[in-house]
């Protein structure tokens, strides 16, 4: 046994899958210890903030000595005030009379354009073929640009409760700054927020946790059911076998997806918690395990050591437990691993058609996908709302499948490359 386990950990595939899975597990247990707020807390109003750091707008404006200028404010103001046609005129003058090459002029770069203007514009310069009116126009333009360059203050006002008038509270100059560290109300959303304004990263960790829970519970139920039925069918044979095989075949052909939809719809939204969904998935996915356990047991049934046990008068249960189970343990573990990953996928798909766990307390990976598509994140380009979820589902399933393949190669030498 010890040797086998050592062998398992020599398989590259198993190790890769195992490491990915452990990293995911550690994340979902350690992350909530560091960030303790409710994963479903709505952090910001409005849909789909893109990833980044956010400061509260009212705090920035209201506190006076603690606000953040998260853009180069002066440049942005110049950029905003310098109109497009003004830019066109500037470019025209510079090219014709300033002796600037057209390749050097970039009208979209307000700062650069103004710098060029200040360098080259000269009232006294010879301006051949220009009417007086046009000369005056450019003089006005120059003044306009000078004005733009002068800083303008921004006024904060508050509404008077009684009169409804706006009263000046404070004047904010363009060159007033505040240290970033002084801002209290600052949130970083590495993965942005979702349609409800919830932090996607925190939500994703919580969702992964509940999805894994669903996967494991469903996997345990499916494996236990499948194991019991497979053992009975394979070992007892005869009528029991025929009956079980009949139902197994029936339920492999009738898609479990359809059964899940029908049952989950009928159970009603009030009943459909995480536990309920997990149980439903478990109860509809046993046929796979039953099939493989049965065929394994069939091949073991007539081995010498089993016959010897029978001759010694051991009870059926004891024979199954001591003479058959140890031989199929590795298959059962592999089936269990696959059941976990298919359970997570089933939950995701069920949630996508609106039949997932109806809970407002926790998120699952499927529910996150459901919310994202309901609020058309996939159409408005909010990739952060669904892409991490897809990646997480793929990673979990990838790691579990790698572990399964690794185990398969150890216990089934014929498959080794």
């Amino acid at each position: 046994m010890k040797n086998r386990i050592r062998q398992v950990f020599h398989s590259g595939k198993f190790i890769t899958g195992f490491v990915i899975f452990i990293v995911i597990l550690l994340t979902i247990f350690i992350y909530p210890l560091i960030i303790t707020r409710d994963p479903l807390k709505m952090m910001g109003e409005g849909n789909f903030f893109r990833p980044g750091t956010y400061v509260s707008k009212s705090e920035v404006a209201g506190s006076g000595d603690s606000y953040q200028l998260n853009v180069d404010a002066a440049a942005a103001q110049v950029d905003r005030r310098l109109k497009n046609d003004t830019r066109g005129f500037m470019a025209e003058w510079l090219e014709k009379y300033g002796g600037v090459k057209s390749s050097e002029i970039d009208v979209s770069d307000a700062d650069g354009l103004i710098a060029l203007w200040q360098d080259h514009y000269d009232l006294a310069a010879e301006q051949k073929g220009m009417t007086a009116a046009k000369k005056k126009k450019f003089r006005r333009l120059d003044k306009e640009i000078r004005d733009i360059m002068k800083s303008k203050a921004l006024f904060l006002a508050e509404k008077n409760e009684e009169t409804g008038d706006l009263e000046e509270v404070e004047e904010l100059g363009e060159t007033e700054y505040v240290n970033e560290k002084d801002i209290q109300n600052k949130h970083t959303f590495p993965l942005g927020t979702d349609n409800f304004g919830r932090d996607v990263l925190t939500e994703l960790v919580a969702a992964t946790r509940s999805s894994l829970k669903i996967g494991v519970i469903a996997g345990v139920i499916a494996t236990v059911l499948g194991l019991i039925l497979g053992l009975l069918a394979g070992y007892l044979g005869g009528f029991a076998d025929n009956l079980i095989v009949f139902f197994t075949n029936l339920f492999t052909v009738i898609p479990s997806f359809v059964l899940l939809i029908l049952i989950s719809y009928s159970v009603g939204e009030s009943q459909r918690g995480i536990m309920m969904v997990a149980i439903l998935i478990g109860c509809t996915s046993w046929p796979w395990t039953t099939r493989s356990v049965r065929s394994q047991v069939m091949s073991l049934r007539n081995r010498d050591h089993v016959n010897l046990s029978k001759l010694s008068g051991h009870s059926t249960i004891r024979i199954i437990l001591t003479d058959i189970l140890p031989y199929i343990a590795s298959y059962v573990v592999m089936a269990f691993i696959l059941q976990i990953s298919s359970g997570i996928l089933s939950e995701a798909q069920l949630s996508m058609i609106g039949l997932g766990p109806a809970t407002t307390k926790t998120a699952t990976l499927g529910l996150m996908m459901n919310w994202a598509t309901m609020y058309s994140a996939h159409l408005n380009g909010s990739w952060w709302a669904y892409f991490p979820v897809v990646l997480m589902i793929a990673l979990i399933s990838f790691s579990l499948n790698l572990m399964n393949t690794g185990l398969d190669q150890v216990f089934n030498p014929q498959l080794r490359d």
Partner: protein
């Protein structure tokens, strides 16, 4: 031929039996549950939703067609009789359209999308898997991890990735619907063109997913076969590599066909959810509409149609298997 006939008859009978079970389950399961849909409908008609007269009308139609007050077996036979006539009642959410009217449109979109996609994905996957096993080396090393990862992306995930890249970012393909939203289904060239353009993203997302899963299965089957004694023996005999590959491919393909039959239901389930991402006018989107609209008549008819489609596809695969695998015929003749 006699052996094959026996195999066919057996298979068809077995699938008929499965169909009966599926139909019974479809009827009984929802009615066994605590919040059974029929009383929910009755409840709605009493509590008066947004449109009381509408609900009332549907309820009347429902009582009439399903004989709610009668014992359950009588209800079942009335329901069955109606279903055989293609009558599933009136839809809630899309009143006054009938369920069969909604579904008769949706079914064809789904069939035309999924059938070619799964078949193409299966064929490509098997060829790639066999080539990877035979060539080994760089091709195998590069392609295997890629497929391993791709096969673990759920179908809706692949759909959403393709949608983001080609629909939103590059903007070369439409993002939703089965045809341009400004068009009416008609036999014009413009409509056909629009359908083809809208077909691409859903189609390729299903194909890619299928390829991933099949290639891995085929690769390990082919490696297993390449180590078999008959291959070594053929090499001793000096049979050309090409011929050996043909044998290997044929032998490795048989379990793949059985595998296809076993996993068709799962594959179609996944593809149905992928449809939702594209709001493709097929059964998947109809299912979503039925669930969000609390439209039980539509939902139960949808699941029944999906079950029948899966059963038919499975039966087709098994019938084809009978032709391809000579052992089937031999077994039946004993």
């Amino acid at each position: 031929m006699k052996g094959l006939k026996k195999y066919y008859v057996q298979k068809i009978l077995w699938y008929l039996l499965t169909l009966v079970f599926a139909v019974v389950l479809n009827f009984v399961l929802p009615r066994l549950m605590p919040g059974d849909p029929v009383s929910a409908i009755a409840g709605k008609s009493v509590s008066g939703m947004s449109d009381a007269t509408k609900i009332q009308k549907v309820y009347q139609d429902y009582t009439e067609k399903f004989g709610i007050s009668k014992p359950i077996y009588v209800q079942f036979f009335t329901w069955l009789k109606n279903a055989l006539h293609g009558d599933f009642g009136v839809s809630f959410s899309q009143f006054p359209r009938t369920v069969s009217d909604i579904l008769s449109g949706a079914v064809w979109w789904t069939v035309c999308l999924q059938l070619p996609a799964i078949v193409l994905g299966w064929v490509l996957g098997n060829v790639l898997g066999a080539v990877a096993a035979y060539r080994k080396g760089v091709f195998d090393k590069a392609i295997l991890p890629a497929f391993l990862f791709v096969s673990n992306i759920p179908a809706f995930g692949m759909a959403i990735i393709l949608l983001f890249v080609f629909g939103v970012r590059l903007g070369v393909l439409p993002t939703s619907g089965g045809y341009g939203f400004n068009m009416m289904p008609s036999a014009t060239w413009a409509f056909v063109k629009s359908v083809i353009v809208h077909y691409q993203l859903p189609f390729w997302s299903i194909v890619l997913i299928t390829i991933g899963g099949q290639a891995i299965g085929m690769r390990s089957m082919a490696i297993y076969e390449l180590n078999a004694d008959y291959v070594k023996y053929s090499r001793f005999l000096g049979i050309k590599d090409r011929t050996i590959v043909k044998y290997v491919f044929r032998n490795a393909m048989l379990p793949q066909i059985t595998g296809l039959a076993l996993s068709l239901g799962t594959m179609m389930g996944g593809a149905l959810v992928a449809e939702i991402i594209f709001s493709y006018p097929g059964l998947g989107t109809t299912l979503l509409a039925a669930v969000t609209g609390q439209d039980y008549p539509l939902l139960s008819a949808c699941t029944l149609i999906i079950t029948i489609m899966v059963l038919l596809a499975n039966l087709a695969v098994e019938l084809i298997y009978g032709i391809i695998d000579p052992r089937v015929k031999a077994n039946q003749q004993d």
